[in-house]
Amino acid sequence: MDLAIVVAIDFLYAIATLMLISLGLAIIFGMMRIINLAHGEFMVMGSYSAAVAVHHDVNIWLAILVVPPLAVGIVGMIIERLIIRHLYGRMVETMLATWGLSLFIVGVLTMIFGNITEGLPTPLPGIRIGAYQTSGYSLFLIIFSLAVVFGVFVILRATRLGLLARGTMQNPEMAAALGTDTSRIYAATFAFGAALAGLAGGVLAPATGVFPTIGGSYIGRAFITVIGGGAAPIVGTASASTLFGIINQIATFATNPVYGEVALLFAAIILIRVMPQGITGRYLRGSL
C-alpha cells in the first residue's frame, strides 16, 4: 500500500512537472501560433531570479513564487516589443529568431553567473509514508502545478481579459473593430506565457538546481508536449502531459531515467506522425 502511494506520487510528479514546464509555451503557441524556442531560457531566467532573490535574503516562498513570474514577465514584454512583434504569422521565422534568442540568453547567463550549478534550499522537509521517505516538495509541486493549470483556465475562461484575449486570437480584425487594442492583447498574452515560464523555473529551481544550460533539458520536453497536445492550450497540455508522463515513468521504472526520457521522445514522434495536429486537434476541437 505504502509502495503504491509512493509510486503514484512518482507518476503524478512526472505528469505535473511536464504540465508546469509546458504551460507557458502552450499558452503562447495555442493563443498566438508562435513557438517560443527560448522557453527553456525563460524558465532559467526565472530560476536565476529566484536564486538572486534568495541571496538577497528574500523569503524563500516569495523568491520562488512571486519574483520569477514578475521578472520574466517583464522580460517577455520587452522581447515581444523588440522581436516577436515583427514576426507574427511567420511560424518558422519566429522559431529561428527565438532559437537565436535562446543561445543569446544562455551565453549572457554564462557570462553573468558562470558555468556552475547554483543550489536553492528546499523549503519543505521530507515526508514519511510507511517505510518510505518521499520529498515534501514533490507533493507541493504536484498540487501547485494543478492549481496553476486551474488558475490559468479560470483566467482565460472567466475574466474579461481572458475573453478579450480569446476573441483576439480567434478573429483579430473583428476584435479590433469592436474596440480591442489587439497589439496590447498580443503583448499581454506573450508576457503572460513568459511569466508562467518564469514561475515554472522558479518553483523547479529548489528541486533541480540552476545552471545556464539547463533550459536545453526543458525545451525538448515542453516543445513536444505542446505540439503533441495540439491547439487547445490547457486541455492539450494536460492530456499530452498525462500521456507522456505515464510513458516516461513506466519506462523509467523498467529501465532508467535516461531511457524513460527516450521513451517519451519516441512516443512523441509517433504521436506527431499519427496526429500532426495533436491530441486536441483530433478529438477535442475548439476546447481551451
Binding site: 554564462t110 557570462m111 536545453g216 500532426p276
Partner: protein, 347 residues
C-alpha cells in the same frame, strides 16, 4: 536553359578559386592554420548538406546534427574495429543516409510538413544525445570500440590511403582531401539541381500541391533529397572524427544543430555558395571568440541568428547577387555613359 551565361561564369570562378586554394594553401600556410582551415572546410560540407535539403528541398530539418553525429560515431566505431578506414568511410555515409531515408519515409509518406518535420528531426537528435550520453562504462561497446558516454571516443584512427592502413593521411593530405570533397560536393549538388530531379525538388519547395497535380511524386523526391543530405552530413561527420581523432556526444547537441542552421540563415537559404562561405566565416569567428573570455561565443552566434532573421531574412548571398551586384552594375553603367557620350560627340 534558364541558367544563362552568368551562373556558368560564376561556377567557373568558384572552380578556379577552389583549385587555387587547394594547391596554394598547403604550401603557403603553417601547419596550425592549415588544420584550422581543414576543419572549416568540413563544416562547409556540412553546411552544404543542409543548404541542399532546407534551401532547395524546403525540408526544415532542425536536427541536422543527428546525421553529422551518426557519421562521426559510425566512422569512429567501425575504424577502431576494422583498423582500416575505407569501409568505415563508406559506412559513415550510408548509415546516416539510411537513417534519413527511414525518417523521411516515416515523415513524408505521412504528409508531415513544415514545423512538424522540425519537431521530429529535433526530437531524433535529442534521442541520440540522451542515449549516447548514457553509454559510459565498460558494458557499452560495439566490437572493440568503447562508446564512452559523455567522455566520447578518443584515439580514433585518421583516414588512410584506401586499403593501406599503415599509410594514414598527414595534415596536408587531409586538407587536400577535405577541400577536394568540398569542391566535389559543391559541384555535385549544383549538377544535381540542374537535372530534372533537382528542378522538381525546387518546384516542390515552391508549391508541393501543384507539383503533385502535375503527376510527380513529391514524397519520393523529398525522401531521396533528404537521404542525399543525410549522407553528405555523415561524410562531414566522418571527416570531423578523423580530423580530431575524437568524437563526443556534444556532436548531437541542439546547439550543434542550431549552429548549422545559423550558417544557412546567414549565408542564405536557397544558395549553395552563401552557406559554404558563411560556414567558414562563422566557424572562424567561433574559434576566435573562444580565445577570449570577455564575450560568450554562444551569445554572439545567437545574436547573429536573431539579427539575420529580423533584418536580413534571406541571408547574405541573395543580398549580394540581387542588390549589391545590380547596384554596382548600375553605378558603372551610369559612370560609363557620360564618357561614351563625350567620345561620340567628339567623333
Amino acid at each position: 536553359m534558364i541558367a544563362g551565361r552568368r551562373p556558368n561564369l560564376s561556377l567557373i570562378a568558384v572552380a578556379v578559386v577552389g583549385l587555387a586554394l587547394l594547391i596554394a594553401l598547403p604550401i603557403a600556410l603553417d601547419l596550425y592554420t592549415l588544420l584550422q582551415i581543414t576543419l572549416y572546410t568540413i563544416f562547409a560540407i556540412l553546411a552544404l548538406s543542409l543548404a541542399f535539403i532546407w534551401g532547395y528541398g524546403g525540408i526544415l530539418c532542425f536536427g541536422h546534427s543527428a546525421f553529422f553525429g551518426l557519421g562521426a560515431y559510425a566512422y569512429g566505431v567501425a575504424t577502431i574495429n576494422m583498423g582500416e578506414s575505407t569501409g568505415p568511410l563508406v559506412l559513415a555515409i550510408l548509415l546516416p543516409a539510411a537513417l534519413a531515408a527511414g525518417l523521411g519515409y516515416f515523415m513524408f509518406y505521412a504528409r508531415i510538413t513544415d514545423v512538424y518535420v522540425g519537431v521530429i528531426t529535433l526530437t531524433v537528435t535529442l534521442i541520440f544525445y540522451n542515449v549516447v550520453n548514457s553509454t559510459a562504462g565498460a558494458d557499452y561497446h560495439i566490437g572493440q570500440a568503447l562508446l564512452g558516454g559523455y567522455n566520447g571516443i578518443p584515439n580514433i584512427p585518421s583516414l588512410n590511403i584506401p586499403f593501406n592502413p599503415d599509410d594514414t593521411l598527414e595534415p596536408e593530405g587531409m586538407f587536400v582531401l577535405c577541400m577536394g570533397l568540398l569542391l566535389v560536393t559543391y559541384f555535385g549538388l549544383h549538377g544535381l539541381l540542374a537535372t530534372r530531379f533537382g528542378r522538381v525538388l525546387v518546384a516542390i519547395r515552391e508549391n508541393e500541391q501543384r507539383v503533385e497535380f502535375l503527376g510527380y511524386d513529391a514524397r519520393l523526391h523529398k525522401l531521396v533529397a533528404f537521404s542525399i543530405g543525410g549522407g553528405i552530413a555523415g561524410l562531414a561527420g566522418c571527416l570531423f572524427a578523423s580530423w580530431g581523432n575524437y568524437v563526443s556526444p556534444g556532436i548531437f547537441s541542439v546547439v550543434q544543430s542550431a549552429q548549422i542552421i545559423i550558417w544557412l540563415m546567414v549565408g542564405g537559404a536557397g544558395t549553395l555558395l552563401g552557406p559554404l562561405i558563411s560556414a567558414v566565416a562563422l566557424s572562424w569567428l567561433t574559434v576566435e571568440l573562444g580565445k577570449q573570455q570577455l564575450v560568450n561565443a554562444g551569445a554572439v552566434l545567437g545574436a547573429i541568428l536573431l539579427v539575420f532573421v529580423l533584418l536580413v531574412p534571406r541571408g547574405i548571398a541573395p543580398m549580394v547577387t540581387e542588390r549589391l551586384v545590380p547596384w554596382l552594375w548600375a553605378r558603372r553603367r551610369s559612370a560609363l555613359v557620360p564618357g561614351d557620350l563625350a567620345q561620340e560627340s567628339k567623333a
